[in-house]
Amino acid sequence: MFDFIVDHYNYWTYIGLMIIGFYAMMTKRNLIKKIIGMNIFQSAIIFFFISSSVKKGVTVPILEHAHGHAAHGLEHVTHAVDAMQYANPLPHVLMLTAIVVMVATLGVALAVAIMIYRKYHTLEEDEIIMAIKRD
């Protein structure tokens, strides 16, 4: 039972983070708090993917002694690489892309929030809805 918790608690941490972000997106009235919730949500997804790249007792996916060999002959290097020695590089790459998308959505969301504030002079959702109904 204890081993099971140790092997899986990382997933539960990310689920907790994701639910905090989702709760903030659903219930908070302030638009900035909603954006913060969206960021927490996205960070939880990124942590989840990064944790799937972890292998116990390995190093970062940068191949050792590769520079000198690459200049001379490549054949003997190809067979020397032991995949169990390096962490899984693919989740890292995918999450680099996801971080870029996260920054892009954050920027556009903040710009839209600024526009809403310029027009209605508030970021509270219910006040904005009242102002829209009044117009």
Binding site: V6, D7, H8, Y9, N10, Y11, W12, I15, G16, M18, I19, F22, Y23, M26, T27, S51, S52, S53, V54, K55, K56, V58, P61, I62, L63, E64, A66, H67, H69, A70, L74, V77, T78, H79, V81, A83, M84, Y86, N88, P89, L90, P91, H92, V93, L96, T97, V100, V101, V103, A104, T105, G107, V108, A111, V112, I114, M115, R118, K119
Partner: protein, 97 residues
Amino acid sequence: MKTLSIIIQVLLGAALIYGTLDMPKWGDPHSPAASHVSPYYLQHSIEHTATPNVVTSVLADYRGYDTLGETTVIFTAGMACILLLKRRDKSQGKRHV
């Protein structure tokens, strides 16, 4: 509204935790994510791209078109921010600033 959303969060959390019961152990070197595709990239990265950093070789070489699309995303987001935040003249814009 608040109680409804809390109920939704609890149900979602329970479903996700039920889903993690079958997930591989943390740091397991023989998990499916680590044993099917990624050894190919680690073993052939030097041969194909002559780059010791596998993350870089996948990002800029194997998935080069994806990175190109990523720059399009950044460009679109930047243009959207500029167009939204640009101050309009009071005469032509309907929005008062």
